[in-house]
Amino acid sequence: MDITPAFSPDWLRLDPAEETARICERLRAQLLSPLHRRGLVLGVSGGVDSAVTAALAVRAIGGKRVFALSMPERHSDPDTMRLSALVADRLGLSCHLEEITGILEAAGFYRRYDEAVRRVIPEYGDGWSSKLVVDARSENTGFQLFALVARHPDGDLLQKQLPLQAYLEIVAATNFKQRIRKMLEYYHADRLNYAVAGTPNRLEFDQGFFVKGGDGLADVKPIAHLYKSQVYQLASYLEVPDEIINRPPTTDTYSLAQGQDEFYFALPLAQLDLCLYGKNHSVPAAAVAAAAALSPERVEQVYREIDSRRKGTRYLHQHPLLAAQVPEIAADQITVQHLPAVAGSAIHRPE
C-alpha cells in the first residue's frame, strides 16, 4: 500500500518562525563577515518580495540600520510609492525617495525606448504606453518569443510580434531602470558603509528573471532560496500589510501594467512554484499536474522550459570569466564558503 502523501502545496510549507530566525542569523553573520558592513540598503517597490526582505532586515539588525529606498519613475505604477511607504511605515522605517525620471532622461532611456518601439509601431509616441508579453507563438515550441502590446492614446490596444533588433533594443533600454536603481542603492550603501540587499525569490533567482548589474546585483539575497509561496508564508508571519500580500506580482517596469506571468514565466506563479519544487525534488509530472491543475504533458513541458531558462540565463549568475586563474583571488570561495550546507532546511513535508 502506498502511504506516500499526495503532492500538494503543503509540501512547500515551512515553519515561518524557524525560517525567519535562520535567515536573520545568516544576515547578521554575513554582515559581520565577509561583508564587514554596518547595515543594509534595499529598494522597496510595494511588492511582497521587497516587503519581506525589508522585514527580515529589520528583524535581523534593527530598523535604525536599514535604509529603504523608493525609486519610482515616470512609468511607475502610482501604487508603487504609496505601498512602499506603507511597508516602511509598518516596519517603522523612513522610506527615502529617489525619483529616477531625470536620470533616465539624461541616459536617453525614454528616447531610446520609443525609438525601439517605433521599429514595429511607427506612430508610437506621446500618450502611448506599452509592455512586452510572451508571444503566443512560444506556446508548445520550446522557444520563448516576445510580442509588444501597445495602447493608443484613445485606449485601443494592439499587439505586434517583435523582430530581433526591436526586442533587443527595448530590453536594453528598459534595463537602464534596474541598473540606475542599483546605482543609487550602492551610492547610499557606500556613504553609509552598508551592504545592499537584493530581493529576488527563488523563481526569479533560479530562472534568471533579473538584470545583470541591475536588480541581480546585491551583497546578500536573503530570500533567493524561497519559493514564492514560501515568501507569502513569511509575509503573513512578518505581518506584511494584506494589501501588499494580495497585490498581483508585477514587473512595474513598463508603461503599461505588466504581470510577471505574462512577461517572463508564462504560467501563474502559484503553478510554477509547484512545478519548480516538483522538478527540484523529482516529483513525477503526473503528481505535480494533479496539484497544479495542469495536464501531465504541460508539466513535462514546464520542466523542459525550466531547464531551458536555466541554461539560457546561466551567464547572468557568472562572475566575470578569466582567461587564466588568479589563485590569490578565488571568487568562488569567497561567496560559497559562507553558505549553509543545506539551504531551506526549515522546509517541512507533511508526514
Binding site: 507563438r137 515550441t141 520550446g142 522557444f143 518569443l145 530581433l164 539560457g312
Partner: protein, 90 residues
C-alpha cells in the same frame, strides 16, 4: 540547393560559432551543440526571412524545423524559399 546549403552553413558558423565550423555537420543538432537558444531562433528567423524571402508563421515554430542545417534546408524547401542573391536582396 548547394548554394542555399552553403549560405545557411555560413550563417550558422559566422553567427553562432565565431567562424569555427569544424564540429558542425549538416545533421548536427543545434540544440545538442548548445548554439541556438530563444535568441538564436530569433536570429535564425530573421536570417531566413531576409535572405530566403520566407514568412514564418506560428505553426512553423517547432524545434524540428530549426535544429540542424539539414532541417533548416528542408523547412526552406517546404516553404518554397529561394536564396536571394545580394543584388536581388538589395
Amino acid at each position: 540547393m548547394e548554394q542555399m546549403r552553403t549560405r545557411v552553413r555560413s550563417f550558422i558558423v559566422d553567427t553562432f560559432l565565431f567562424g569555427d565550423g569544424s564540429d558542425l555537420e549538416d545533421a548536427t543538432s543545434f540544440l545538442e551543440l548548445g548554439i541556438v537558444d530563444s535568441m538564436g531562433i530569433l536570429e535564425l528567423i530573421n536570417f531566413l526571412e531576409s535572405d530566403f524571402g520566407l514568412v514564418i508563421h506560428e505553426e512553423d515554430l517547432v524545434p524540428e524545423n530549426f535544429d540542424s542545417i539539414d532541417q533548416v534546408l528542408a523547412f526552406v524547401a517546404r516553404k518554397g524559399g529561394a536564396y536571394k542573391t545580394k543584388s536581388a536582396a538589395g
